[in-house]
């Protein structure tokens, strides 16, 4: 409790100009677009030789890896039903769910000294300091009793690298499961697939653990590891930070079609459906979110051809420019539902 008070009385309120030269940042914003863009700004602008720590939480959202396929990773139907957005982050790895019961840590170091094992230990020591008997698995994820409490992702640039990760504390695990459960087994995608793992919340193991106590524990562990004495710099998206061009451009890019959908690796999707008049098989091939080809078996139609070059999941009826027969209309309605991006 003492340390919690310590944190929140050291806000950098003296000056509204926030520089990337602090060692420790705590974001009180829960906007995933802001937090990810702020993180990227720190990654690109902080002194390359100095270690840096950022901690933040996001309002409910699904965050996919840099080279993942959202149609394969995000249950759009469940996400839409709960008005939960999804975001493509800039680091690698798999898909995670964020809400206020999850705290994200981000440790930045010089590229040449980057060691995923070492940064994982910093976080592990923080969790253990809270009285939880946690371990690191072979993927450098922090686990308790064999279940993952944390998922990690990494980014490397010319002179800098970061290890960031989630820490499940009191996350709604049912929602996490609903949003990350996608059935599309016949969607074959390039890029990176998520590795599904059983997960747990730290709060299951200790009453002491909360966002604040975890934040303090990571700050202490980071300070001890890197010999840092600076107090955390508290930031929010209402600060002047949000007026920094780099951060604004990042916040605009993340939800854009070009980034969110357009960065999707090549994929193929084969689907079948029985209609009263026969079976139809559709084979769709897409790259960068654009349909390269769509072949239809069981239906004599120009429909597949008309879809070429169109954005997967975003095709409006009027864009097709084909006079559709009754069967074509039914097949098109089915294809549209199957490709749906619910956005």
């Amino acid at each position: 409790m003492l340390s919690a008070r310590r944190l929140y009385t050291t806000a950098s309120s003296a000056s509204s100009v926030i520089t990337p030269t602090h060692s420790i940042y705590l974001s009180t914003s829960t906007n995933p677009y802001f937090n990810l863009s702020f993180e990227d700004w720190l990654f690109r602008h902080a002194p390359q030789k100095e270690p840096l720590l950022l901690l933040y939480r996001d309002a409910p959202c699904v965050v996919i890896g840099r080279n993942q396929n959202p149609w394969k990773e995000v249950n759009f139907r469940a996400a839409r039903a709960q008005s939960i957005p999804w975001v493509r982050r800039r680091s690698g790895g798999g898909t995670v769910y964020h809400d206020l019961g999850n705290t994200n840590f981000s440790i930045h170091v010089p590229r040449t000294t980057f060691d995923r094992g070492a940064t994982a230990q910093v976080v592990l020591r923080a969790v253990r300091a809270l009285g939880i008997d946690a371990d690191v698995n072979e993927r450098n994820d922090i686990c308790v009793g064999g279940e993952k409490a944390s998922g990690s992702a990494y980014k490397i640039a010319s002179g800098r690298a970061y290890h960031h990760g989630t820490m499940l504390i009191t996350t709604r695990l049912e929602t996490l499961g609903d949003l990350l459960r996608v059935g599309k087994d016949t969607m074959i995608t390039k890029g990176v697939a998520s590795v599904r793992s059983p997960v747990c919340n730290l709060a299951q193991f200790s009453e002491r653990v909360s966002h604040d106590t975890f934040v303090n524990a990571v700050v202490d562990s980071f300070k001890a590891e890197y010999g840092v004495y600076d107090e955390p710099c508290i930031v929010n998206d209402t600060d002047d930070l949000a007026r920094i061009g780099y951060i604004q451009r990042g916040m605009a890019e993340l939800p854009s079609w070009d980034w969110a959908f357009g960065q999707t690796p090549e994929f193929e999707y084969t689907i079948k459906k029985s209609f009263v008049w026969g079976d139809v098989t559709a084979h769709i091939h897409a790259r960068h979110g654009v349909i390269l080809s769509c072949t239809l078996q069981g239906l004599d139609s120009e429909l597949g051809k008309a879809l070429e070059g169109k954005r997967y999941g975003f095709v409006e009826d009027e864009e097709l420019g084909v006079d559709m027969s009754g069967r074509e209309e039914v097949v098109w309605a089915w294809l549209k539902e199957e490709m749906s991006s619910y956005d």
Binding site: G65, R66, N67, R90, S91, G92, G93, R111, T112, F114, R116, A153, Y154, K155, I156, A157, S158, G159, A161, K190, G191, V192, Q263, P265, E266, H288
Partner: protein, 159 residues
């Protein structure tokens, strides 16, 4: 590594300008490239510029692939796209991390190494040769002069 050093050393002994202004003095062996200049960026890309074709083959450096570890996915630019030096033109993801690829020089992408789509590991096995990412027709070949030599590239990370 040794072959990369050797090529760069040869390239330095033949200044780009001299080669361009007096191509007639160079013996051209059929089927054999004449002058290839290799230059590097701080972002760990390497360009092998062929003075005869005006094409630059872009790769990531051997050092970059080493620090990334096993590459599992490579995102390449589209053929025909116009790129400006510094633009993000692709991405590499390894078992360890994601990394961006930036255009080391400006021009038009004429070819991409499609083999990497099915065999991303080629980037580890032969980063600066068979694992090339794309070929760019340079719109401003003088940009090559602004890039780093192997020695100055190494100095950026061998601190």
């Amino acid at each position: 590594m040794f072959s990369a050093i050797g090529q760069a050393a040869r390239a330095r002994t033949m200044p780009l300008m001299a080669a361009r202004t007096s191509p007639s003095i160079i013996m051209r062996v059929p089927g054999c490239r004449t002058i290839v200049t290799k230059k590097y960026t701080e972002e760990h890309e390497v360009v092998a510029f062929d003075d005869e074709t005006g094409l630059g083959a872009v790769s990531i450096t051997d050092h970059a692939q080493e620090s990334l570890g096993d590459v599992v996915f490579v995102e390449l630019p589209a053929v025909g796209s116009k790129v400006v030096k510094g633009d993000q033109i692709g991405a590499v993801e390894s078992v360890k991390a994601a990394s961006d690829i930036y255009a080391p020089i400006s021009g038009i992408v004429t070819e991409v190494n499609e083999v990497l789509n099915s065999e991303p590991g080629l980037l580890n096995r032969s980063p600066e040769d068979k694992g090339w990412l794309c070929k760019i027709k340079l719109s401003a070949p003088e940009e090559m002069n602004e890039l780093l030599t192997l020695e100055s590239y190494k100095a950026t990370w061998e601190a």
